[in-house]
Symmetry: C2
Subunit: 337 residues, 2 copies
């Protein structure tokens, strides 16, 4: 009924418990024939070390904590889904599992604190590094091992490994793509100024426009990340100055881009033919909407891989030099451009 233990294997193989432990953890220490004998007993019994016992002894849990942020309905946020999957996959390769926990209403640090104090996880992957998020700083003070997906925007001397995607490079490529297709009046619909990620992405658009000597006057708009904001902003930009009516839109998110598509549909304009549109994140929405939304895709699989690498070095050598990695996203071109 209960799974076999080290002792069961030892008895069957006619060796001591320690030898079995070595066979599992330090096979090099065993003589070839002993190892084989032990291995056979392990196979026959279907032995696998008891996690709780091993965790207690080694003071590790082989678990990585990840806080799941609430699902935002009404937006096109495909990132988390893909990222979680990539993280689970790469963690497995490294011998870790991912433990999910959720935000506590009143105290955002509660979940982290409890898991830490109960030694339930070895480390965290933090994903929300937006301005004012207290987690990173708090975890650092706590000396808790963690890596972050997202730059430590507000903390230049952060000492934890991080991986982020170069949003500016993404929007720059998107804008260049449109410019290459002959567009000159490429508008920007982004987020409010207090979003560093938003300003980062905006800067890529600016860079591309200015790089071609094009003026951006009257072509930008900063709004909330909702479909209706995108719809209103694009309608406004299209109606503002007839002489500088945008022929293309680059958006800070697929959500905003869907708003633009909405405006076009209302006006009988056809995306990709009459007006070009580019989104950000390559969400499912971008993939299934007609005629396909061109979008900037984040290399989440690579991000997850590098985060786990960072985690491993952090856990094996806590004082190793810290590094941040900036990944370049790619543009997925579809019908809308």
């Amino acid at each position: 009924m209960t799974p076999p233990t080290l002792a069961d294997v030892a008895e069957r193989a006619g060796v001591s418990r320690q030898t079995v432990s070595n066979a599992v953890n330090n096979p090099d220490l065993l003589r070839a024939d002993t190892l084989e004998r032990v291995q056979q007993a392990i196979d026959e019994l279907g032995y696998l070390p008891n996690r709780a016992a091993r965790n207690l002894r080694t003071r590790t849990s082989q678990l990585i904590g990840l806080r799941l942020s609430p699902v935002l309905e009404g937006t096109a946020t495909a990132v988390m889904d893909r990222f979680v999957h990539a993280l689970v996959w790469t963690s497995k390769e490294a011998g870790y599992h991912v433990l999910l926990f959720s935000q506590d209403e009143e105290d955002p640090l509660q979940g982290y604190d409890d898991l830490l104090r109960s030694t339930a996880v070895d480390a965290f992957v933090v994903t929300d590094t937006y301005l004012g998020n207290p987690q990173a700083a708090w975890l650092r003070r706590r000396r808790a091992p963690f890596v972050s997906f997202g730059r430590p925007w507000d903390d230049p001397d952060a000492k934890h490994p991080w991986v982020d995607v170069d949003g500016a490079a993404g929007t720059e490529e998107a804008t260049r793509h449109l410019l290459d297709r002959g567009h000159e009046l490429v508008a920007w619909i982004g987020w409010r100024k207090d979003s560093w990620i938003g300003e980062d992405r905006r800067s890529g658009w600016l860079r591309a426009m200015h790089g071609r000597g094009l003026s951006t006057t009257g072509l930008a708009s900063r709004v909330e990340d909702t479909v209706s904001s995108g719809r209103d902003a694009s309608a406004h930009l299209l109606d503002a100055d007839p002489a500088r009516r945008p022929t293309a839109f680059v958006c800070a998110s697929d959500t905003l881009a869907m708003g633009v598509l909405g405006t076009l549909a209302t006006r009988g304009l056809y995306p990709g033919r009459d007006i070009a549109v580019v989104g950000f994140d390559d969400s499912q929405v971008a993939q299934v909407v007609h005629p396909g939304l061109t979008s900037v895709r984040q290399p989440l699989e690579e991000a997850a891989r590098l985060l786990v690498v960072g985690l491993e070095s952090l856990l094996s050598a806590p004082l190793s030099p810290v590094e941040g990695r900036l990944l370049t996203p790619s543009l997925v071109v579809r019908g809308s451009s």
Copy 2:
């Protein structure tokens, strides 16, 4: 540096370690003043029981295993995301965490087996109960505790708690909604016949149509779950018999519905005005596409809640009577109808 232990608390409170354990697990056993003294020591030290030690002793892990299925790109599958979140949330309330693992390429049971043999999780939540999925049967043979989100379609004498959503009721409501709006030629675009879920959803459409004495001849189509299949199927249905040209489409998924919207866009038809469309799952896509896709929404939060309830009773009383629960989805009406 290391977190405080039971012994630390005991020393500080001037009681034995056992008394501290009781204070945590059986506070009723302590005298009020002792309890308060211990509690104060706990608070001062920030003590939380070491998970590994507790797990070893109690032979539980307070962990629920959930296999994350691969993200299907190019489809509108919003279900998993919301479900995982709901599960994490309700699990927390019940004192459990969710451990994620991923599918092994060659052996789909590997992940389950390893976690079971290493006693890393207390139970599983199984989500893919489609035809031919060996997990449920395998877990049952293994006497592993699990609950499933999805009926045991192919196993009438399954003995595990399950929760599922009444797909037929959903499509029936969707179809009735269209009939109430004056449509009579309501077409169905669903999945291939070997999908029980697909046939279930299809039966709801049939029931609604026949309930109003309407013929379904030439109005149905069974295809793969891709956008292009939905596009092709709807185009075909619109072109087939002019006398029975559909004025509305009910689809087995939002993915298929997006294909229908694609066909409409190509032909200059306006969803909701010229042709009505209803999808299934209330994905993000349905929420952000213009002019909004009416869709059947699954009560995932309730499903997660009931699954955790089932899990608790399963783990506390393994021989308690098994129950299955069928939940009724709701229709979210948007511009497309």
